[in-house]
């Protein structure tokens, strides 16, 4: 890993910390808040690509684990990872990985703007939403002893917000690609 990679990984972990300064919105019917932080893995995947994006979220997980209050609402520590939302937090790392893998394969620097944005939307949705929900819901149903289905239905409440985040990540991904390209590209 080059020093530049190391620094970029740290930067996106720091971006997660900053996103965590925005207060979460708690919902009554599911013990999982709406949080700006789920934008982080999408940004990391779209801008840094799979490897560095994944590592940046792992680094963030480490910060959570050593008890720094870096999750929204000033939470942190192993208790959160073991709690009902732990699956989502771990899912962020794999979400960034999947998002990056897709973006690296679909996005080309020479493409027109619309095609780039569409590719980033696909990457951010499959990585940042589908993958994250998968990890999150499996752990949530296990941890809370709920049946799987009600949790799936309840998580529809996150969709509007997360779709907006997909849009933001895609626009940011394409703007950074134009202004300061970093995304590795694979055939």
């Amino acid at each position: 890993m080059t020093t530049r990679d190391l620094v970029l990984v740290a930067l996106f972990a720091a971006i997660m910390v900053v996103l965590g300064l925005l207060p979460p919105i708690t919902l009554g019917f599911i013990p999982v808040p709406i949080t700006a932080q789920s934008l982080g893995p999408m940004l990391a995947g779209c801008i840094l690509g799979a490897r560095r994006g994944f590592l940046s979220m792992l680094l963030f997980l480490l910060l959570v684990a050593i008890g720094l209050p870096v999750l929204s609402g000033g939470r942190g520590g192993f208790a959160v990872l073991a709690g009902p939302t732990g699956g989502y937090v771990v899912g962020w790392a794999f979400g960034a990985l999947v998002c990056g893998l897709i973006a690296e394969r679909l996005v080309r620097e020479g493409q027109n703007e619309i095609a780039q944005i569409a590719a980033f939307v696909a990457a951010a949705f499959i990585g940042g939403v589908v993958t994250v929900y998968l990890f999150g819901l499996v752990w949530l149903s296990y941890a809370t002893g709920n049946a799987f289905l009600p949790a799936v239905a309840a998580s529809a409440a996150f969709l509007p917000g997360d779709l907006i985040k997909v849009g933001i990540a895609a626009l940011a991904g394409r703007a950074v690609l134009a202004g300061y390209p970093l995304l590795p590209q694979r055939a």
Binding site: R4, V7, P23, P24, L62, L63, I66, G73, A172
Partner: protein, 201 residues
Amino acid sequence: MLNGLDIEGNSPLHRMPVRGKLIVLFTAAIGLFFLSDLRLLVPALGLAAALFLSTGIGIAEAFRRTRFVLFTVLLVAAANYVFVSPHEAVVVFCRLSILVLLAATITAATGISAFMDEIARLAAPLERLGLVRAADVSLAVGLVIRFVPEILARYHDIADAHRARGLPLRPLTALVPLIILTLKDADTIAMAIDARGFRRH
């Protein structure tokens, strides 16, 4: 919160080894999870506040550092008040506030380099397995702590740039320049790390 800024001092908390402090925090985090008796939680909250102040931080600075998080804790408590019960609201408030105060206490009583040494020690077994370089992990953690205020400072620069040109500040039009400016800073910092030989190759 994560200014990474310890308060200079020599209180018992400052002298306590980092590992000990982290163990206390983990234990508290797990223990509080099972605790919902207000006769214990309320005094514990008082104790946490006292510990925080014992770092010599001063009331004003203590409030400045925690007010934002405490506000969100209040929001979480309010939601519990509405959706669950007043009792649960107070419990949640105490539980989260204690954790916030303990975490803030550790931040205030522990220098970044002490943190990084400890992380390097924790990562050493992984290094022996060839998975990561321990020194890189601790450097990365130090960098995160360095970047948070840097990102906030860049955000202020961008907000100023918008205002100076009479443009409305929209989250998206702020986000992109924010990322690009911090990426540029990151590149310079990467070069500085190499120039100063911070990583052994």
